[in-house]
Amino acid sequence: MLAGSRQTVVRRTLLVVAAVAVLVGVWAVISLAIDRPVTYADVRDHFKYGSIGSEPGVSLLNPVGGILPPRAVFTALPSICPEKLPGGYASLGFIVEPGHVLPVGVSVRRRLGIDHVGLNCAACHTGTVRDAPDAPPRIVLGMPAHQLDLQRFVEFVTECTLDARTTKAAVLAQLSKTGVHISLFERMLFQFGLIPRLKQTVLQLRNRIGPLLGNEVPAWGRGRVDTFNPYKAVQFNWNLAQLPHEELIGASDFPSLWNQKPRAGMHLHWDGDNDSVDERNLSAALGAGVTPVTVDHDGIRRVREWIWTLQPPKYPYAIDSALATQGADTYRTTCLACHADHRFRDGIIDPGATRVGQVVAIADIRTDRHRLDSYTETFAENQYQLFPDSPYRFTHFRKTYGYANHPLDGIWLRGPYLHNGSVPTLADLLEPADQRPAAFYRGNDVFDRERVGFVSDVPAAGGRTFFRYDTAVPGNSNQGHEYGTTLSPDAKRALLEYLKTF
């Protein structure tokens, strides 16, 4: 009787233990299987904060894709390494809207039981503009993120993640301060080695892109990115140190995202290496941390539909319309064939714009050739193996031998000018190359109505240090594109006025 009841107790206990184990197992499996982005009803919010799939995925032990650490770590880093980033992510040019913990351009997605963060299109394609130094900034979606120092950002995130101070305890201690909530499952992952695993992944990433982060290549500075060199290392595991040093100098300006519909079929990217909008979009997504297996095609498609006909904001200051009309005549004879006219903002391409979206040979355009040379035939051959066995496989990339003529919609917000952002204002661009500023500051969002562009002679303001751009540094040359530089001062003034209407 006694033995029987003891047996029953043992049996019942075993049953309860087994049931708990099964429940925990089911809980873990469900937690790991969930792949759910934070979604937004308004497409503008989706653009700013929605996911394109750039968060890590596939496997906890061998995570695929992603550049950023989990949200809990990402939000804690500025407090853990304050001396590396006084002023937080905003000081690097990220835009933090009131009431938001994460900046514009950073999405959240639960994958593998973790609330991950990733970069999206808005990180590099949203900027701010101010009427005067004391005016509030206006956020413009789709404009180049001319204020963002992406290179320093990646450098900070990798270095601080690897810092000895970044521990489980330090990250969890920050949660209450940042107001970030994590699930019980994620908390358990922190207990069971999430941070050491993360450091290993970040170390692998840094080993690959290391030569682009330190001082081995000229600084990208605010508003610029080296599009293809990180991709060579991250996607294909090329040892960058073995490439010719010149090839690693590829920094160029972020472009605007407006009006993609009339751009279909044009040669896109600065060197015109791709004529498919969709493929170009997907390629840019790879740069944000997407991979062929973690990509969120629906998230990208939603952005694509929106930027298809998105117009740039109109020039908000006074325009002398009589002067602009005069300028239009000069423009027609000097610029229109390559750049189309002011009606491009409405999707209209003037029939005379026969060379818009075409590539001009480097010998003719004579701007800095580093960006052109950073894209090689060998690289294109490797790109054809991206998105293998899928309808998304890359087929449109081509090595070119010059730079593409781009439409100028919203050109007032697209400074500094030329592909490498080597000329601060449109007025400077209309001067012969040797009379353009030899050095200036990038990243200030105060608008210069006189010269059309951003204020470029102030080294620091409002807690931000601007980037001193030296045109003597390799990759930074301001030579070439000397069209319109021999016009009379009056004709130049009129042309400048007309360009404000774009």
Binding site: T291, T378, P388, T395
Partner: protein, 235 residues
């Protein structure tokens, strides 16, 4: 008693029948799995022209000489140090045409799984750049112009000799590019990766030279004839 004995006998018969059915199911399922994963031959896509056939067409040697496609794709990314320079297969001299997934000289065919093999164009192509900052011109050539094929074999041998040539390492890299199905993962992990490694290492027993006779032995005679005829039609 007799009744019980009869019942026992009946149970034994029944049990044996179930075992037989189970064995049959396992054999059939295993057979179908093996056939689908390793032997099913899918006709390769037709080539538009003799030139395209020369550059990308199958010689029928994928079965004997082919490298499983997913391994072929990731080997340069897992073992870049075994290539003379960064650049994947282009770094050992293979040429590519715009938009083509495989460099000239590689064919792809499905025999159970997708396999990639060399064809004649791997060597019999010439290239020239007439002026700087202009595209490379590529043309078929009767005389072999590159040693890419031999460099390719050397690369494969270096990879297979590397202790990191394991299912774990290679599957992790494949997972960055494609979601293999559970059965494909099983086939790759248990059979395809170890078998490929052994097959490549067998190459080390002989000199690494492209030997036309061996190549023709593994290939389909009619396909070789088509390519031969094409090469001889060139000026």
């Amino acid at each position: 008693m007799a009744e019980i004995g009869l019942q026992n006998g009946w149970r034994t018969v029944q049990r044996r029948r179930w075992i037989a059915i189970a064995v049959a199911v396992v054999v059939v399922v295993g057979g179908v799995f093996t056939w689908v994963e390793f032997f099913r031959r899918v006709p390769p896509p037709a080539m538009a022209s003799d030139e395209e056939n020369f550059e990308y067409g199958s010689l029928g040697n994928e079965r004997a000489d082919g490298i499983p496609y997913w391994l072929w794709l990731v080997l340069p990314r897992v073992f870049p140090e075994h290539l003379p320079a960064p650049g994947g297969y282009a770094a050992i001299g293979f040429l590519s045409q715009p938009g083509r997934e495989l460099p000239i000289g590689f064919s792809k065919a499905t025999i159970g799984y997708e396999r990639v093999a060399l064809n004649c164009a791997g060597c019999h192509m010439a290239s020239a750049r007439l002026q700087p900052d202009t595209p490379l011109l590529i043309t078929p050539s009767r005389q072999p112009q590159t040693h890419a094929s031999e460099a390719y074999l050397r690369f494969l041998i270096a990879c297979a000799s590397d202790p990191r040539f394991t299912a774990q390492t290679l599957m992790a890299e494949i997972a960055k590019n494609y979601h293999l199905s559970a059965s494909e993962r099983l086939a790759y992990r248990l059979a395809i990766i170890p078998a490929t490694r052994r097959a490549i290492l067998r190459l080390t027993d002989r000199p690494v030279l492209i030997d036309h006779d061996t190549m023709k032995q593994h290939a389909d005679a009619s396909k070789v004839t088509r390519v031969d005829t094409y090469l001889h039609s060139l000026h």
